[in-house]
């Protein structure tokens, strides 16, 4: 579950985000829609605990993020929040298996190869477990990025522009994977995008413009 109250975020004198309220039930799917500079990435980073808002309260997975700092916030993020970025950021020096093992290792969780097989099976990528990122296609890398995000059974799954620069067919597939994985883990899914093609897939949509919520 996610609950934001009176969130304001400023860079100097500029208020880049001003959001009175956002509520998301556990397992619900939300879309944050907005153009570049609308504040959607800032909002996503606030939800992930990567950035502290200038004002307001953030509760994610029943945890007030303000109460956490340093290593406890890092550990909370690693264990409860999965993030998928547009550019994936797989570690090029590691095999797919090691890329996936990084998630439990960095979150101080026990490392299970069974979980890797389980996640890769749902993404039809078991045969690539020993491959390196540069040996995979763009679509395959995207699936591995999703696999890494759900390795630790997150309560919240965040995705930043997951369908940008993909054709309709690929965008559809990626979105389906995200939704499937969120359902499989009963995670709250929040997708930030400027891509209007995927609006119909979400039950809740927040449209941002210049850091404020606007109606469609």
């Amino acid at each position: 579950m996610i609950s934001l109250t009176d969130i304001k975020h400023r860079y100097g004198d500029d208020t880049v985000l001003d959001l009175p309220s956002l509520e998301a039930e556990q397992g619900s799917h939300h879309l944050i829609l907005g153009h570049s500079g609308s504040g959607k990435t800032t909002l996503l980073h606030i939800l992930a605990g990567l950035r502290k808002p200038s004002e307001g309260s953030v509760i994610v997975a029943d945890q007030e993020l303000e109460a956490l700092s340093g290593h406890s916030l890092d550990r909370f993020r690693g264990r409860n929040i999965g993030i998928v970025f547009q550019r994936m950021h797989l570690l090029a020096t590691l095999s797919i298996e090691d890329n996936l093992l990084m998630a439990p290792y960095l979150a101080d969780l026990s490392q299970g190869r069974d979980r890797i097989r389980e996640v890769l099976a749902t993404l039809d990528m078991e045969h690539k477990v020993s491959a390196f990122p540069h040996e995979l296609s763009h679509g395959q890398r995207q699936r591995i990025a999703i696999a890494r995000a759900v390795m630790n059974h997150p309560k919240v799954l965040l995705a930043d522009e997951p369908t940008a620069s993909l054709d309709d067919d690929r965008a559809e597939k990626v979105l389906a994977l995200l939704v499937d994985q969120a359902r499989a883990n009963n995670a709250t899914l929040v997708v930030a995008t400027h891509d209007r093609r995927i609006v119909d897939h979400f039950e809740h949509t927040l449209i941002l413009a210049d850091g404020r919520e606007v109606t469609a």
Partner: protein
């Protein structure tokens, strides 16, 4: 998955840069290790070979040359001592133990020392096989002499005039019989051929008294000094006419051409009867006799002070190499950090703490430094072993290139410290990575 594996994977990724960094660091460490091994073992060797010898008395000349020739057997003697002068010195009250030596001949490059049984006894050297020489014409050889010349008990050999393997003239009518091989001592004993002073005199046709009362006639030996065909290129064989003294007991000082040679010693190793003697005895020898007294401890220390300048220069060179490697590792890590700032940010999103990222970069520096240290140890000891072999061949000094020198641990710590310093700033940068800003850029 662990931090070591992660750091190692990044090092593997930039193999060429890694190899260069490690190699430069290894060369710096190797240089210092070679210096440590050689200086430590040469010093130990010298001090081991001069233990218990307070002073050496020989002909006037360079005191260091006298010590190098009579104690370490790595230089030509400065001349000979007339018997009456020698006996005057040996009978002085200040002298506790006096070991006379007659030098100047060799066999296949191994020096023949005419002396008394007190000489091997002083080095606690006993016969490992056979026995010590007892009669004229007998010799007991060092273990290395036996190994390298193939001489064994019962064999005979002819000594050569001069101190190097290239010495051409042999005393081929006076063969010497090997009656024993000394057990290994790790001292100069291992590479000497020991015989009686009389044997050396005898092969040179020098008239001398025997314990049994008979004496040799020069004519019997057909080894008249004038008949020697000296090799002018032999650096160990210097003629008196050249302004220097003779290296051989066969060319007594002050002898006129055509007169029979006289029995002389080349040097006397002396232990004092009391510590007080050190204050008066050398001064007396140097001022009141035609001889000189040289202290091994003082001359060895002087030698090391002279060598020290060279050692220091090489040590600075090694440190400069380590510094260059440190800078190189620093630049490599800084550049690598720029390339992987998204990776670090991604690791933070996966739950990595700032401290873990810092440790990851520090570990990378330590892996590079560790590899450099291990390779430096291997290269250093390998080079020391090669140099030791060369030193052993040319100077007869037993040096073990694979033995660890005290201080090597500090060198390894220095390398790891250098790695730590080189990776500290990149590690702090990793610690300070702003995940949100970095990911927003990407």
């Amino acid at each position: 998955m662990n931090l070591l594996r992660l750091s190692a994977s990044y090092i593997r990724q930039r193999m060429l840069s890694t190899i260069l960094n490690v190699l430069v660091l290894a060369l710096g460490i190797a240089t210092i290790i070679v210096l440590l091994i050689l200086s430590t073992q040469v010093r130990d060797n010298l001090s081991n070979n001069s233990r218990g010898i307070d002073v050496v008395v020989g002909a006037k000349g360079s005191p260091m040359q006298l010590i190098l020739a009579a104690v370490y057997h790595i230089d030509a003697p400065s001349g000979n001592i007339p018997m009456d002068e020698a006996e005057r010195v040996m009978n002085d009250r200040a002298v506790g133990k006096a070991i006379p030596m007659a030098l100047g001949d060799s066999y296949q490059g191994f020096r023949i020392v005419g002396t008394t049984a007190e000489y091997p006894e002083h080095y606690e050297a006993a016969a490992g096989e056979g026995r010590l020489w007892e009669r004229e014409g007998e010799a007991t050889i060092g273990v290395r002499v036996a190994r390298e010349t193939g001489l064994s008990i019962g064999d005979t050999f002819e000594s050569s005039h001069g101190l190097t393997a290239a010495s051409g003239e042999t005393h081929d009518e006076e063969p010497i019989e090997v009656v024993g091989i000394l057990a290994e001592t790790g001292t100069v004993m291992d590479q000497l051929i020991l015989t009686s002073v009389e044997t050396v005199w005898h092969v040179h046709g020098i008239e001398h008294d025997h314990d049994d009362g008979h004496s040799h006639d020069d004519d019997e030996h057909a080894h008249e000094d004038d008949a020697h065909d000296h090799d002018e290129d032999d650096p160990d064989h210097v003629h008196e006419e050249d302004g220097d003294s003779d290296a051989s007991a066969s060319r007594p000082t002050g002898r006129q051409r055509g007169t029979p040679p006289e029995a002389e010693y080349t040097a006397i190793l002396i232990s004092y009867s009391s510590p007080m003697a050190a204050a008066v005895f050398p001064r007396w020898v140097n001022n009141e006799t035609d001889l000189q007294a040289a202290a091994p401890a003082y001359e060895t220390s002087r030698l090391f002070n002279m060598l020290g300048v060279g050692f220091d220069a090489l040590r600075v060179f090694g440190l400069v190499l380590i510094l260059a490697a440190l800078l190189s590792v620093f630049v490599a890590l800084i550049n690598a950090l720029k390339e992987r700032r998204y990776d670090l940010a991604m690791m933070r999103t996966l739950g990595a703490s700032r401290v873990k990222l810092m440790a990851h970069v520090l570990l990378e520096g330590q892996i590079l430094a560790g590899m450099g240290a291990v390779l430096g140890l291997v290269i250093g000891h390998g080079a020391a072993a090669i140099l030791a072999s060369a030193v052993q061949q040319s100077r007869g000094m037993a040096i073990d290139g694979f033995a660890f020198a005290p201080g090597e641990g500090w060198i390894i710590l220095l390398a790891l410290g250098a790695g730590l310093i080189a990776s500290l700033i990149p590690a702090i940068q990793a610690y300070k990575t702003d995940i949100s800003t970095t990911l927003a850029e990407g």
